[in-house]
């Protein structure tokens, strides 16, 4: 089996490509009739799906893994453990699953990148869903201790109230570029004209 596209992507930290690369590679070796299961980097493959927020595909991949591999490769189980927490929306449990395993040298950078990305995703979620939230919960969502979490969000403009242990969420104005291509406007005019006549 030629894993070079995968190792290249891992080396250049193109983690969002990993799931697709693995999917394609797997279909290819399967079609050639290679018994790939024993050597397949299931843990990386699972993490690749999680990295692009595709827990559905991760779940189907987990279901297709032979039980012998699930029993013998603790890292595969550990990777799915993260997926399972995401699946059940056990927001804080994801960090426990990440920290609760000694990841191999190969998987470690991917797990670390995922963890960082997940913290960002969680921050965005809190930003969109809360107006005030306790420091304790924020720490759980961001996977930090309470001081670090407070510092993290304060840097992004949130206000802390030490008395009630509450944080006030500061929404960031979303800046989007509003440059309209005149060709678009022209086309819209044509549609309206078309509809009216």
């Amino acid at each position: 089996m030629d894993f070079s596209p995968l190792t290249d992507a891992m080396a250049s930290k193109l983690y969002d490509k990993i799931a697709d690369i693995c999917d394609q590679l797997m279909l290819q070796v399967a079609a050639e009739g290679v018994a790939f299961e024993d050597e397949w980097p299931y843990a990386i493959h699972l993490l690749g799906h999680l990295y692009v927020n595709d827990s559905n595909s991760a779940r189907f991949l987990w279901k297709s893994i032979p039980s012998a591999i699930k029993e013998n490769q603790p890292q595969v189980v550990a990777a799915w453990n993260i997926g399972q927490r995401l699946w059940t929306r056990d927001y804080a449990g994801v960090y426990e699953a990440i920290r609760g395993f000694e990841w191999s040298e190969e998987a470690q950078p991917l797990v670390a990148a995922f963890s960082e990305l997940y913290t960002k995703r969680m921050f965005q979620l809190l930003l969109s869903a809360y107006s005030t939230i306790s420091i304790q919960d924020t720490a759980l969502f961001l996977g930090m201790n309470e001081d670090d979490a407070t510092n993290y969000v304060q840097q992004l403009g949130w206000l802390a109230d030490p008395a009630s242990r509450m944080l006030t969420v500061k929404k960031q104005p979303i800046v989007t570029e509003q440059k309209l291509d005149p060709g678009k406007l022209q086309r819209l005019t044509e549609y309206v004209f078309h509809l009216e006549h």
Binding site: L27, Q28, A129, S134, D137
Partner: protein, 424 residues
């Protein structure tokens, strides 16, 4: 009559130019019967042919090999051979014998199933579709086979690649039924319920003279997905649905209709009891997972209903109204729904309140305009297609003869080439 060895030489010599190939095609057609009777000898001869060069000849030799009952042993030699052939054959050559190619691919699927390794067929079957398809708008007989393999091998994501194309041309109704049914299942697996509904709806409302099992199973899933996605289900089918479906579908899906009725009461406990008593029925239909999703969707539905009445509401009140155990649980449900974009709200933990908001989309960003623009383009293309199809149909002699007969006073003196009344 030629010997098969002779034929091998012919194939080797006549596979380069288009005119040679058409000569070869005639030779092969003439030899088809003798090839079939000598099918036992053909497999070793394939080694003398190059699938990427002698595709047509290879196909004529390969097809008889796949006939008859196949043992596991034979399948394990045939599967790699066919996989290699599909991957390397030349599309132009196999287009001369599409039926043979489809037969080979179908037998190939049966063999990977026999080997209990559906994943081995996924890649080649996708390649086969791309090679045999006249355009991405054509549904081939291999589409359903491919999607079924994807489901069995749990490669749902790979299945999406063909489902993204819009299909306009269908030859066999059965292919279309299965394509939509399996496609619906793939979208369900990916939790893209809107697309799943669309496909399942196609199955249920497609023309059919008698009711069929695919439509029944599709209708069951349609009911469940409709509850999960829309929170409601109506038994009214659109007017263009066949009368066979209108009359019979409900009778075959009674437990599901009752489930929908129970859902409409809005009471979670009632729904749970109903599911519990009918568990076996859902389980034997392999729909229990979806039914469970229906139950959990009810909490969401009830919360969504609250957004229509209240501007702000305490978490405790939400928990009480939708029958959740604690205000924390209510908070988690609201959070999940915000995450999934199902409601717009902000949670105020300090006061334990939720404030429901309007959809913040203002339809003025460039992306939104881009999106609307592409939708309009698609609809315009679709409308053009419909017009062409309508024109084609109104010139179709078969249709005209039938419509003419049904029209009471049809007279050739009417200088009216198109019947005015469409009896659809």
């Amino acid at each position: 009559m030629q010997s098969v060895e002779n034929l091998v030489t012919q194939i080797q010599g006549l596979s380069s130019s288009a005119s040679d190939i058409s000569v070869l095609h005639n030779l092969l057609k003439a030899a088809d019967d003798s090839l079939r009777s000598e099918s036992a000898r053909l497999l070793p001869l394939l080694d003398q042919l190059e699938p990427s060069k002698h595709s047509l000849g290879y196909l004529y030799f390969l097809e008889p090999c796949t006939y008859g009952s196949i043992t596991k042993e034979r399948a394990s030699t045939l599967v790699p051979t066919i996989a290699r052939f599909i991957t390397s054959c030349v599309a132009e050559q196999i287009h001369l014998a599409p039926e043979k190619f489809i037969t080979v691919c179908k037998r190939f699927k049966e063999q990977v199933m026999l080997l209990e390794a559906p994943i081995r067929g996924v890649g080649p079957m996708l390649t086969a579709i791309h090679k045999i398809q006249a355009s991405t708008e054509h549904l081939t007989a291999l589409h359903p086979e491919f999607l079924q393999l994807c489901l069995l091998a749990k490669c749902y994501k790979t299945g999406l690649s063909v489902l993204e194309d819009d299909i306009y041309e269908v030859n066999q109704p059965r292919d279309f039924f299965l394509y939509c049914y399996y496609g619906g299942m793939i979208f369900i697996g990916q939790k893209r319920f809107q697309k799943a509904l669309e496909l399942l709806h196609n199955v249920v409302t497609a023309p059919m003279s008698t009711i069929n099992a695919i439509a029944c199973e599709a209708y069951k899933k349609y009911i469940l997905v409709s509850l999960i996605h829309h929170g409601q289900f109506s038994t009214n089918l659109p007017k263009y649905t066949s009368s066979a479906a209108q009359r019979n579908l409900k009778n075959f899906c009674q437990p599901y209709i009752e489930l929908a009725n129970s859902y409409n009461t809005g009471k979670v406990t009632e729904l749970e009891t109903y599911v519990q008593t009918n568990r076996e029925k859902f389980e034997s239909d392999n729909n229990l997972g979806l039914v469970k999703q229906v139950i959990s969707s009810m909490y969401k539905r009830n919360i969504q209903r609250l957004t229509q009445t209240y501007l702000t509401l305490s978490l405790q009140d939400i928990a009480n109204t939708v029958q959740l155990n604690s205000s924390k649980e209510a908070e988690m449900h609201v959070l999940q729904m915000i995450q999934d974009g199902e409601i717009y709200a902000t949670i105020n933990q300090k006061d334990g309140m939720v404030r429901f908001l309007e959809d913040p989309e203002q339809y003025k960003t460039c992306e939104m305009i881009e999106h609307i623009d592409s939708s309009i383009q698609r609809i315009m293309a679709l409308s053009k297609k419909l017009t062409t199809m309508d024109e084609l149909l109104s010139c179709d002699p078969l249709y005209l003869a039938k419509a003419g007969r049904e029209r009471q006073r049809f007279d050739f003196d009417d200088f009216d080439p198109v019947p005015q009344k469409f009896n659809i």
